[in-house]
């Protein structure tokens, strides 16, 4: 009876297998570690991620390789996003090291194991070519994150945030599943490429398909955190321990982008007119709500949460302009689409870079018993530490989209795609909201530079943190001066991975 069983090609999934194995090993090792600081665990986790990055590059073929009966795909987009993912998680874990040590309930090996499982979940999402794989990845990521949010178990706010995240997350997963089942009903395939083939060929029952699409988009919108599915973002960002907020706010955006590409572009490109119109509404609403609500915040984490909503809205602009049947000649369509999607990808990657830096700054100023997440905690930072104030200045101006920082080029490339698709009005809406957004980023700069410090405690920062935050800030400036390489990487990755 085993005659038909073929051992799947494991090579494309080697990093996933490795990280799962290591997470289990680290969980075991944690049992015997006596050291309160869990240095061994920390080092092992970081080495695992580093090894994953090496494996990823080593096993990369540059081709689209499917395995596990086409459920799992390894292509350039997956390679690139995963390498950025590992780097992000490595940086995040470095940033959170001191914070976690200062807070007893979190200083356990589980923090690192959960981080690894969450990373594995994101990797599966990025490489998914099957509705179930997508779902499995999302659930693995989400369940790990729920636990991480609640890790500071004595904190009421954290527990509340975890509950909220869990309930809403479960709802969104439900919607996603429901949408997937509808699409399965319409096309008879759970495989993303299979769905696409069916739609390009025989077509499908339109009503059922669109019904499924609506639920699918709603589920994705929840994972991306765009209006009106954004309710969880401010509360979770605010309530979660800053270390976890940093984790939630950075790496999962890469994975969410990947599943949007896989599901909507690779799977449902033929239905682009439908989902583009949905995404336009989501995008404009997100930019409006995100930017306007951010102005009213006094808590930096909450402000960054709303800023995340608005950034995801802006990023969606790149995705909605990919296919516009009325404006572009047919033979140019793939180039227009590639141009648009790669600009969105560039936006996501740079956004993760900026947001990691901004939360890193909060962690840098935090110390035992003090969170440094209120805007007023940054008062007069320029007098306390001109260097770190300068780094935060770079991050804020970059998020506001002021050159020479990379945030400008991210906005520029998306706007370029929007104008190229002929939707100038959309570009104007986008810039009006980024103008509004500039206000609250400027306010952070104002607080750091124009105000007098309340708190004059000297800032003691460990060397690794110092180096890393600086490197993060300088990377934002450096990619701003020379953005070409990263842009081309995004184009190449998507060009070799999407079926346009």
């Amino acid at each position: 009876m085993f005659d038909n069983f073929v051992v799947p090609d494991l090579l494309p999934a080697l990093p996933e297998i490795f990280i799962a194995l290591m997470a289990l090993i680290i969980l075991m090792v944690d049992l015997v570690v006596k050291d309160k600081k869990r240095t061994v665990i920390f080092v092992l986790t970081q080495l695992t991620l580093l090894a994953c990055a090496v494996l990823q590059m080593y096993t990369s073929t540059g081709q689209i390789t499917m395995t596990f009966s086409n459920m799992f795909v390894d292509d350039l987009m997956a390679d690139l996003l995963k390498v950025f993912l590992y780097l992000t998680v490595i940086v995040v874990l470095f940033y959170t090291r001191g914070y976690v040590l200062d807070r007893e309930p979190m200083a356990k090996g589980e923090f690192y194991v959960l981080a690894l499982f969450a990373t594995l979940g994101m990797m599966v999402m990025i490489s998914a070519n099957h509705f179930l794989t997508v779902y499995l990845g999302i659930e693995l990521l989400s369940l790990s994150l729920y636990a991480m949010v609640a890790m500071n178990r004595d904190s009421v706010v954290s527990t509340e945030a975890a509950m909220k995240y869990f309930v809403l997350g479960a709802l969104a997963s439900g919607m996603l599943l429901y949408g997937m089942s509808m699409i399965y009903g319409a096309t008879g395939s759970l495989e993303i490429t299979g769905v696409a083939m069916q739609l390009r060929g025989a077509g499908a029952h339109k009503l059922v398909l669109v019904f499924g699409l609506v639920f699918l988009v709603a589920g994705l919108a929840f994972k991306l955190g765009v209006v009106p599915f954004h309710m969880w973002i401010p509360d979770v960002y605010h309530g979660a321990p800053t270390a976890v907020t940093l984790f939630i706010g950075s790496a999962p955006k890469l994975a969410a982008f990947a599943i949007v590409m896989r599901l909507l572009v690779n799977g449902l490109l033929t239905e682009a007119v439908d989902w583009q119109n949905m995404l336009i509404i989501l995008s404009v609403l997100s930019m409006a709500v995100g930017n306007l609500a951010a102005i009213a915040q006094t808590n930096l984490k909450r402000m960054l949460a709303y800023s995340a909503i608005s950034h995801m809205g802006f990023m969606l602009l790149g995705i909605v302009t990919g296919v516009s049947s009325s404006f572009t000649p047919q033979q140019l369509a793939p180039y227009v689409a590639l141009n648009a999607y790669s600009s969105a990808m560039f936006y996501v990657i740079t956004y993760v870079l900026m947001t990691a830096g901004a939360f890193g700054m909060i962690l840098l100023l935090a110390r035992a018993g003090f969170e440094a997440d209120e805007l007023s905690d940054f008062k007069g930072l320029n007098q306390r530490s001109p260097w770190f104030a300068g780094m935060m200045l770079i991050m804020m101006f970059s998020m506001a989209g002021v050159p020479f920082f990379v945030g400008f080029f991210a906005k520029f490339s998306v706007l370029q795609a929007v104008v190229a698709s002929g939707q100038i009005w959309l570009a104007i809406v986008a810039i009006v909201f980024s103008l509004i957004g500039a206000f609250y980023y400027l306010r952070v700069v104002k607080i750091m530079y124009f105000d007098q410090p309340d708190d004059t405690t000297p800032i003691r920062v460990p060397l690794d943190m110092r180096v890393l935050v600086s490197a993060n800030g300088l990377a934002i400036a450096g990619f701003g001066l020379f953005p070409h390489w990263l842009m081309m990487v995004c184009v190449a990755a998507l060009g070799g991975s999407l079926y346009l």
Binding site: N382, S413, L415, A438, P483, H484
Partner: protein, 494 residues
């Protein structure tokens, strides 16, 4: 020597110097920071001198061109070059930077390194604006130069500095974002090129031209500033430290006007003709109405700020009459205004450092205690009022000459500035400088020291030189202005 990238040096020498100054760090190193800043500013000026000496005035095209690919993904190039229109502004800007560093020498005691670094970096960025020949490069410099000025106003400014800094930043950003869309539209319409000179040749229909023109107008009108989007300027001037006011008046305002010549006129010539009446009307409102507004000011800095708006109205007026004498007059006016308004703000700064007041009513009879200063101040005031033999006269006269040919009533309204300008400037001088000593504070004033005298005398020399012998200035712009006019005369509608 021929292959030295002079323009790159003009841009990056001040920026690198600024970063070096920043590295001196704490207050203990303040003297070092000042010295380094001065060296940087002088070096920055020195590298621009060969631009003047090596410039070929017979050619109207771009000179000292540098072209390297920068972001090939969007065919953005690092493309620099100057013509007769932009070259002088690089010199002016670099020169003013030296003045600013000197002016803050003793006055600024807090965060000395950051102060000087901000000015140096801004100087480099503004040089970049004047020589960028690529749309994105221009925009990047244009936007980035907001950051240092925002910090200068906010950190070293007056009591209401936060409001002024935000207003300045958001106003300018609001204007320039539409400009960005216009640039991207041109990029796509031209088939993927950001080269400004290519855009000059790009055929466009009238509707597209008008939309582009309006987008440019918003961006540059805010920057100039033109009535009715001028309200950020008086606030920014009043709150900024002296150095900030000087750079703002002398250089930053010129960026908007320069933008008209580099973008609006050559890219949308038909729309420029179509809408010239509108721009001229706005300019005349600025000249006349803002002139009256200046008359009633009680704060000296505000008065000079309004006078700047009025003078810049002259500049935009000169541009949109499409005559050589009008544009050259406007350009002369821009440079002359750079010297004069800079000097006026320095003079007010000198008094403010001693009295900590800018209210006209707090002064009176300054000539009795500060005779050397009073002489220079009166000279600059006369220049501001457009007295012959000062640089202020040359530009205004040329623009009025152009206006008479264009339309008598326009000229009539424009010429009223001769009276209004004299009225508000001289009335202020009368109240501040002349008469008997009005109060004990004025009686205790000490005259300017050698540093202050040196700065003001340097500017006075420039004002007089340009007033008596403006030919070296007009000579270099002649060919470029003629090229521009020829270009603007040709319709782009095909």
């Amino acid at each position: 020597m021929a292959n030295t990238p002079l323009l790159s040096l003009a841009v990056w020498v001040p920026i690198v110097a600024g970063l070096l100054v920043l590295m001196t760090g704490s207050e203990r190193n303040a003297p070092l920071a000042r010295a380094l800043a001065l060296i940087g500013a002088i070096a920055g000026f020195a590298v621009t001198i060969p631009l003047w000496t090596g410039f070929n005035p017979a050619s109207g095209g771009m000179q000292f061109v540098e072209l390297k690919p920068w972001i090939e993904r969007y065919s953005v190039n690092y493309h620099l070059g100057v013509d007769g229109i932009s070259m002088l502004f690089l010199l002016l800007n670099s020169f003013i930077t030296i003045i600013v560093v000197l002016a803050g020498w003793k006055v600024i005691e807090q965060k000395v390194a950051q102060y000087n670094a901000a000015f140096l970096i801004m100087s480099g960025l503004m040089n970049g604006i004047f020589c960028a020949l690529d749309g994105v490069l221009f925009y990047v410099f244009f936007e980035a130069s907001l950051i240092p000025l925002y910090l200068i106003i906010g950190v070293w400014g007056g009591p209401n500095r936060v409001y002024a800094a935000f207003k300045f930043f958001l106003y300018t950003l609001a204007g320039s974002l539409l400009f960005l869309i216009a640039l991207i539209y041109l990029y796509i319409h031209s088939g993927g090129s950001f080269a400004i000179l290519e855009w000059h040749k790009l055929p466009l229909n009238l509707t597209a031209q008008i939309w582009l023109f309006l987008a440019f107008l918003v961006a540059f009108a805010v920057k100039v500033p033109m009535w009715p989007v001028h309200t950020w300027l008086p606030d920014a001037h009043v709150e900024a430290p002296t150095g900030g006011s000087v750079v703002l008046a002398a250089i930053a305002l010129k960026l908007g006007a320069y933008g008209f010549l580099r973008f609006s006129l050559p890219i949308a010539p038909d729309a420029s003709h179509e809408l010239s009446g509108f721009v001229i009307a706005l300019s005349l409102i600025a000249v006349v109405y803002i002139g009256f507004v200046a008359l009633v000011q009680e704060d000296m800095k505000k008065l000079v700020a309004y006078s700047s708006i009025s003078h810049m109205g002259f500049v935009t007026l000169g541009f949109f009459m499409f005559s050589a004498i009008g544009i050259e007059g406007a350009l002369v006016q821009m440079i002359s205004h750079g010297f004069i308004s800079g000097a006026m703000f320095l003079c007010i700064g000198v008094m403010y450092d001693r009295m900590h007041s800018r209210r006209i009513a707090d002064y009176g009879g300054v000539v009795n205690t500060m005779p050397k200063f009073a002489a220079l101040f009166v000279l600059f005031a006369m220049a501001n009022a457009g007295l012959p033999a000062t640089s202020g006269f040359v530009g205004e006269f040329m623009v009025i000459l152009g206006a008479v040919k264009f339309n008598f009533w326009v000229a009539f309204a424009a010429a009223s500035t001769m009276i209004l300008g004299a009225a508000y400037t001289l009335w202020m001088v009368k109240r501040v400088v002349f008469g008997a000593v009005t109060n004990a504070h004025v009686a205790e004033l000490t005259d300017i020291d050698r540093r202050e005298f040196f700065i003001l005398a340097l500017l006075a020399a420039c004002v007089l030189w340009m007033g008596v012998y403006p030919q070296p200035f007009t000579e270099v712009m002649h060919a470029s202005v003629n090229d521009l006019l020829q270009h603007v005369a040709n319709s782009k509608i095909k």
